[in-house]
Amino acid sequence: MSWIQRGWTPEEADNWSREDWIAACLSVLAYLLIAMGAALSLLAMQVGFVLLLGGIASTWLMYYVIDPKLRAISSDYERKQKEYLRRVEKLTRWEKAE
């Protein structure tokens, strides 16, 4: 799947891209298939097992698409977090300290 980017620099990963939307769509699909598939499988209906397998496949595909990007975002962001935490305290002050 060459149209899915699997290698990300932190700067690239910070921007929203096609992969985010594909993952969001697969996420919705996985939820719908899991919900329906689980219920119909518990009633031993064949269509339920097919839907459930589709849900599991969608979940895996979502992970395949988004995980490299999430890893890149996380590795970069965690380094900045300490500084950001200090900044949040200042930004949200009710009384301006400085």
Partner: protein, 525 residues
């Protein structure tokens, strides 16, 4: 009443001892700092907040509600429970990332980052007050459901189950804060899921098994109950296509927003407690996926209950269906185990909302407005006192529940219908400002009364179904908040740039992005 043996009591006492012991074990971690008491030090792997989301949204009243709608609607009833969590499908990939990077403890604090000035302060105060009240309300509501279960099992008056078990849960919440909540939620989530599988399986077996449920429904002339898309018409009947499409749109597009549903507030705390952005995203996705699987189990158990006890007219009888499957069909000695799992279901929700209500009180009110220089130990102490205050408030609301429920459902509906679009816009559009948000709130209060109560009462408009009310309130709100937003100044650009660089929101942020690039804070794209 259910007859309990010595083995049953062993299960109940062992479970209570295990949960309270957790509070003792983790109280040292909780007392280290505010971040430990409310976010477990922001260091949790994804599966702990995921289990907490599942456990929190598995409350004592949830099986009553799901069994009730499935008894009435059959398999299509699953959508009442499973469309609502669908917002997490989008949120896990989009807004969870935005919110995690904001590092805000609460939704109210996030709004201080997104907006600034007087409007921002008004919103933070209001949001914090509403958050405290809403958590008390949920605690009272869930506590009363526990009261009803205790009435069914022991014959106790409703208030006793409410007060006794919420108080026992409060012991470990006050001692161990969010550490206690999330560790016990994990245990309770595992116990609850096992019990849901076992009790549902027992019920399905008692109804003759999956194939027998299908064939008996068809023999009874109730085969339509097996169709999850058995619509009553596009606009007509009790299950119209228009309702389904509205809820689907509302849930999915709502995943782009911040604070679109009341559930966001519990999720927000779990997102911030995850150790990385990646862990936060997976925790929201996986926690809600577990909720969907749970709904499917309860749905089929509800069908089994219908086959076993068809023709019940009283909602109070069929809403207890899943509990009856457990207590009536589990073998001797397992009734206590089943009650212990009901306690697990109950405690997980109570613990979350006690800690969350206390978070608003201590972080957004006490620290923000009263004592900004408070020490970490002082904030933890305030967190414990606030947990106790939220607990006491929940008793009061729980005991008033029969009288106030109708009004509070209306209040929640105001939150959801009229504020849906502003909640999305504040996350995706740089120009939307605090005055637009506040005007939407105020206008929505008036419009909701008009559309839901007053105009239908005077027969100016017909009584509208809830999904039409949603569209009408959304449209009326737009007529107010868009002009207000355009006629007032945008938020301060300096504030917006800081927010943008840290959070990197999705949507229409072009002018802010260009300003950040001009200042050299971001590389030009």
């Amino acid at each position: 009443m259910v007859q309990l043996t010595a083995l049953d009591w062993f299960w109940i006492v062992a479970f209570l001892a295990l949960m309270i012991a957790c509070g003792v074990l983790f109280h040292r971690l909780a007392r280290r700092s505010e971040a430990d008491f409310f976010l477990a030090g922001r260091g949790l792997p994804w599966w702990l907040p995921a289990a907490s989301i599942f456990a929190t949204h598995t409350a004592t009243d949830t099986p009553m509600w799901i069994t009730g709608v499935v008894y009435q609607h059959g398999l299509r009833g699953i959508w009442y429970a499973s469309l609502f969590p669908a917002w997490c499908a989008i949120s896990a990939m989009i807004t969870t990332r935005v919110f995690r990077r904001s590092l805000a403890y609460t939704q109210a604090e996030w709004q201080s980052l997104r907006y600034n000035g007087l409007g921002s302060e008004l919103m933070r105060g209001w949001m914090a007050g509403w958050g405290i009240f809403l958590n008390m309300f949920i605690l009272g509501w869930v506590g009363m459901a526990m009261g009803k279960v205790c009435n069914f099992v022991f014959g106790w008056p409703n208030w006793l189950g409410l007060v006794l078990f919420s108080s026992l849960c409060a012991i470990y919440v006050m001692a161990a804060g969010y550490w206690g909540v999330v560790i016990t939620d994990f245990q309770q989530g595992v116990i609850a899921f096992a019990a849901i599988v076992l009790a549902s399986a027992w019920g399905i077996a008692a109804a003759g098994g999956p194939r027998a449920i299908v064939s008996r429904l068809e023999t009874m002339g109730e085969g339509w109950r097996l169709d999850p898309f058995h619509f009553s018409g596009f606009f007509s009947g009790d299950f119209p296509v228009a309702w389904f499409l509205t809820m689907l749109f509302f849930a999915l597009a709502g995943g782009l927003g911040m604070g679109t549903t009341i559930d966001w507030y519990a999720e927000a705390q779990r997102i911030q407690s995850a150790r990385t952005v990646r862990d936060a995203s997976y925790s929201i996705w996986a926690g809600s996926a577990m909720v969907l699987v749970r709904n499917s189990l309860w749905t089929v158990a509800g069908l089994a209950f219908f086959v076993l006890y068809p023709g019940l007219q009283d909602a109070k009888q069929y809403e207890m269906g899943w509990f009856r499957l457990g207590f009536e069909f589990f073998p001797m000695g397992m009734a206590g185990f089943f009650f212990a799992t009901i306690l697990a279901i109950h405690f997980s929700t109570i613990a979350t909302h006690l800690n969350l209500g206390a978070l608003y009180a201590s972080r957004d009110l006490y620290k923000h407005y009263i004592n900004p220089a408070a020490s970490e130990s002082r904030l933890v102490w305030i967190g414990r006192v606030s947990s106790c205050a939220v607990l006491l408030g929940s008793f009061l609301l729980g005991l008033m529940m029969e009288e106030i429920t109708r009004w509070l459902i209306f209040a929640l509906w105001i939150m959801v219908a009229g504020m849906w679009l502003p909640n999305v816009l504040q996350a995706v559009w740089w120009r939307f400002n605090a005055w637009g948000y506040l005007s939407a709130w105020i206008a929505n209060l008036g419009f909701s009364w008009l559309v839901v109560w007053i105009l239908p009462a005077y027969q100016v408009i017909p009584e509208l179904p809830d999904y039409l009310q949603f569209w009408v309130l959304l449209g009326l709100g737009v007529l107010v908040f868009l002009p207000v937003t355009w006629l007032t100044k945008p938020e301060d650009m300096d504030h917006l740039v800081k927010y943008y660089v840290m959070v990197r929101p999705i949507g229409w942020w072009g002018p802010v992005q260009r300003e950040a690039e001009r200042r050299g804070l971001l590389k030009a794209t």
